[in-house]
Symmetry: D2
Subunit: 338 residues, 4 copies
Amino acid sequence: MTKVGIIGGTGYAGGELARILCTHPDVEISAMTSRQNAGAKVSDVHPYLRGYVDISFTERISDTDDLDLVFVATPHGVAMKEVPALLERGIKAIDLSGDYRIHDVDVYKKWYGHEHTDAENLQRAVYGLPEFFRDEIRGADLVANPGCYATSIILACAPLLKSGLVEEDVIVDAKSGTSGAGMVPTTRTHHSTCGESIIPYSVGNHRHTPEVEMAVDRFAGSCMRVTFVPQLVPIVRGILSSCYFNLRRDATQEEVDTIYVSQYGGERFVHYVSEPSIRAVAGSNHAQVASRVVGGKVVAFGVVDNLVKGAAGQAVQCMNLMLGLKETTGMDTPGLGV
Amino acid sequence: MTKVGIIGGTGYAGGELARILCTHPDVEISAMTSRQNAGAKVSDVHPYLRGYVDISFTERISDTDDLDLVFVATPHGVAMKEVPALLERGIKAIDLSGDYRIHDVDVYKKWYGHEHTDAENLQRAVYGLPEFFRDEIRGADLVANPGCYATSIILACAPLLKSGLVEEDVIVDAKSGTSGAGMVPTTRTHHSTCGESIIPYSVGNHRHTPEVEMAVDRFAGSCMRVTFVPQLVPIVRGILSSCYFNLRRDATQEEVDTIYVSQYGGERFVHYVSEPSIRAVAGSNHAQVASRVVGGKVVAFGVVDNLVKGAAGQAVQCMNLMLGLKETTGMDTPGLGV
Amino acid sequence: MTKVGIIGGTGYAGGELARILCTHPDVEISAMTSRQNAGAKVSDVHPYLRGYVDISFTERISDTDDLDLVFVATPHGVAMKEVPALLERGIKAIDLSGDYRIHDVDVYKKWYGHEHTDAENLQRAVYGLPEFFRDEIRGADLVANPGCYATSIILACAPLLKSGLVEEDVIVDAKSGTSGAGMVPTTRTHHSTCGESIIPYSVGNHRHTPEVEMAVDRFAGSCMRVTFVPQLVPIVRGILSSCYFNLRRDATQEEVDTIYVSQYGGERFVHYVSEPSIRAVAGSNHAQVASRVVGGKVVAFGVVDNLVKGAAGQAVQCMNLMLGLKETTGMDTPGLGV
Amino acid sequence: MTKVGIIGGTGYAGGELARILCTHPDVEISAMTSRQNAGAKVSDVHPYLRGYVDISFTERISDTDDLDLVFVATPHGVAMKEVPALLERGIKAIDLSGDYRIHDVDVYKKWYGHEHTDAENLQRAVYGLPEFFRDEIRGADLVANPGCYATSIILACAPLLKSGLVEEDVIVDAKSGTSGAGMVPTTRTHHSTCGESIIPYSVGNHRHTPEVEMAVDRFAGSCMRVTFVPQLVPIVRGILSSCYFNLRRDATQEEVDTIYVSQYGGERFVHYVSEPSIRAVAGSNHAQVASRVVGGKVVAFGVVDNLVKGAAGQAVQCMNLMLGLKETTGMDTPGLGV
């Protein structure tokens, strides 16, 4: 059994990692940290893990822990302080925060508001989207796990961009469930505020904007411009991103379908469908992509469970690759459907 | 125009009072206080009041304000410090908190955890449930506005208790929308916590328990024992309280129907119906009551919008009585229905 | 009292009309029709109207009814059969369906799938958006009440289009609550289907597309191209339409703000705000518009309660104008806020 | 691989059975029937099963199908026509409908409204609640899978009843998500009806009433009287049943805790907890039970995902026992938590 640890085990991403890993056949959760809950049993903090995770939270990963890989599921700014020591000890790391997603330290500072203190490792970090960077992830010792919005957007947009069929200027109107905002209660995620509402926020200045632009540049050789408008909707799990492109030339629905089918036909977790559905992927690592040609435009939809394919599930998918396991190990289950 | 003030104008009850009062034909909102938002325009804090309330929040009710009546919509423990001065100045007061609901200071201390500092005025406070204490409210200068749960429960239970048909031991299984918990974000009202859940809380120790027992004692001459289990459900506005009684003797549905019809047949805001519906009362001061005889038991349902008939609307209903106005003035509108 | 009738009183729009009209000071609901519920008391079908509407549904508007104005709240295709007779009898009509919105019978046939049988009156129908066609509505005897989506979109887009600042090619990503789909249960509006989901539908072929294009042409002299993607979200009331434009030239947020403020500064029901909120308008005839300049684009948000400003409320606003009443009569109340 | 079939594969229970069975290590889904969708691929009707279930729906189970066990997931009244032939062919059967739950044909007729046509097999049907009838299930060839409400109620009530500590007269106030009502759209499950509401229905006459009474009688030797009030709440998955008992004598919380811990301490899927949570069990076969002593009463809470432990999951648990497999095979995963 490979031993893994989770730094930041109290939050939603940390709990979700444990939920997936606890039934993984080749991996054992040896350590989970939490400043807030150090000393407490993990299953007292996350009661759904009772019977599945028997360890207690520790303040920090111990220096003597014999770990092969650590997930860092902390707020932005923490991972860059934890990762260098892990790598030095030969422990592979997957960071679920934004710390290692943006390779340019100036861009990082502009969007995150503080200096990046680990520029060195930033360069070796691989962007953890297996459907596009599978080989790099296999050989990586540091993976920057994509953001939840970014995952849904890139999966929807990348095939079109690679095809050259569309202009490199996309409008992304994204809708997210509230779990994407994390476990800390805020006015915006207060049920009475968001329960019968749809709330645009961070319009034009959300941090997933440069992430998407940079990721797309890498594999599409293009320089995509993203106008990103996230909106909170009153569901718990799920993202639907609607992405609008201008076609460079007339194109039929069939042409566009072919592009997506050739991209995702062989993927286990990404499905090109006619009617995108959050419930079809909820609770699972599956994603759905759909598209519709409308006049001289095409709208592409990307759907994920923000906590699974949009966070913990994708991280485990990367882990499987980094450990030389079959990519789907421990998470090859369908979405809830209903 | 009668001049009224609102102490505690930032919270949901304060905002709802302003929403109702701003179109009231005989009353003018002359002052609204808020420690947190003093100096800010009321309509900047409550944007739905734009065009309806033009004043700004003040830190306190000024000594020179020429007010006829003040609503106190603050957390428990504050009203008892504000009310004595108001009454001394000849200003009538309606307290929406729990400070003046429990006449016994020992019971108060037991359930609220601190001493009552205004025992004197406690005795003159009238319980503001017009359907049962209409005459007392008309003559009162201090009204204790009932709690939201308490309103739904008493309306459902009182006719049965008065009839002598049921045992004085009721089980109340109540379900409330999240706005009943107020505007301060908490883990329980965090959308990801409550959004797809039903959460029992304060089982057997909620403060509306003694309130209901005491209120019922007053008009039913009975000594009701209440087992009260509140539960949070993922809706914004609305309470449904299901109240279970043992019948003292066999009774038909028709007998029970007659009891309710004779109690509420002449009421404008309380309706005895066959199918209780939260949507039918949402946004309005209306309440619904229903009942069903099942074996040797009867279940009585009470439905209110917790912010209107369960709080601000009922307070305005009391105000109308205290000012000698028609009881329904300024709030005689149907529920949303959908 | 002016006597009005409602054809199609069972549905959500019909019920909502009655909800608003029943407290209107200058109008009396003299007749409501329903094929399905003919003979039943209106308040038995719509229990929230108990105490407010005392008539029963009839099969048809009687030939002897002395009505001044009739609302037609039926599915598409019915109004065109009812309106000619009404107008002949000198009864003004407001149609809430799509029958009289599209002036070109060929466009009508293309989008609605059947011939228009009242081409004659089609030409005299005025588009019932008071903020843009106030004078025409005042003199009209036939008003085509705008669609719910169309209202939210036009209010958001029109000022920008009139200003000439933006290209005449807009992407509209709209989100609607389920009441917009009407009262007939369907798979899509089944709670288990839509309750934790966001569902795109009628992508690129929704009937409000030509309606918006045509309406805008009339007052902007422009020929707007609309890419319209409606999406169902799990709320009951409310629409948020996010409308994306390319700027023709660089523009500041302040410039854009000025455009909206000069358009809506004098309006009672339309508000230009910084943070659009469905709850602020819920239950009321108010609408909110907001905008954000992002790079070379501008996103404009339009928010309405789909049943009020998006349907029945707007119809009553038109009625007030047609009857020579103050435009806000009977509906000048704030949104719920919470 | 053991070959199993599903009769009634279109509905929620049928789809959920396939969702669980498709990753079961020892079982293969060889046939799924659907009158409505015969000929269609299962994964076209249930898109979340794409990649997991590759067969198509057939009209009926073929006479030549070599099946070991069949699940019957049809509406009430169908299973009694299907089961005799299955048993004759030596195929074990698990019926998820109510057809084989009530052993008394007169009671069946009274509550279900029609004659029972398979009285013979009714007697051999074992009630499929493994935590109480494990041994009988192991030896059974016909299992009546419990209802979703019944499961939540019996798990909460049985230990107390067996202990003799409580009176045999329980009030059950149950709240269910909408998926419990099945996939057919109705007015009650229309989102605009139930989306911001709590709806009592079938008060005192729901069919799970005799089921609970009978089940409890079998193992508690008692004759429980159940007053059952189900209520629909706007969540998709999940039931919380609140069960109220009178204590026969004073008892402490600790005494009651001990009763539950000794009952469920060794169970994999039933957990005695302090704070019951639907989210902790959502998507999984786990159940939670909690209790609180309040005055002379005790309230017991039972929580399940109505589609898993309340239907398909429990059926698979029974299947595992009937096939001699480890009871938890293929479904030993935690709930979603968030």
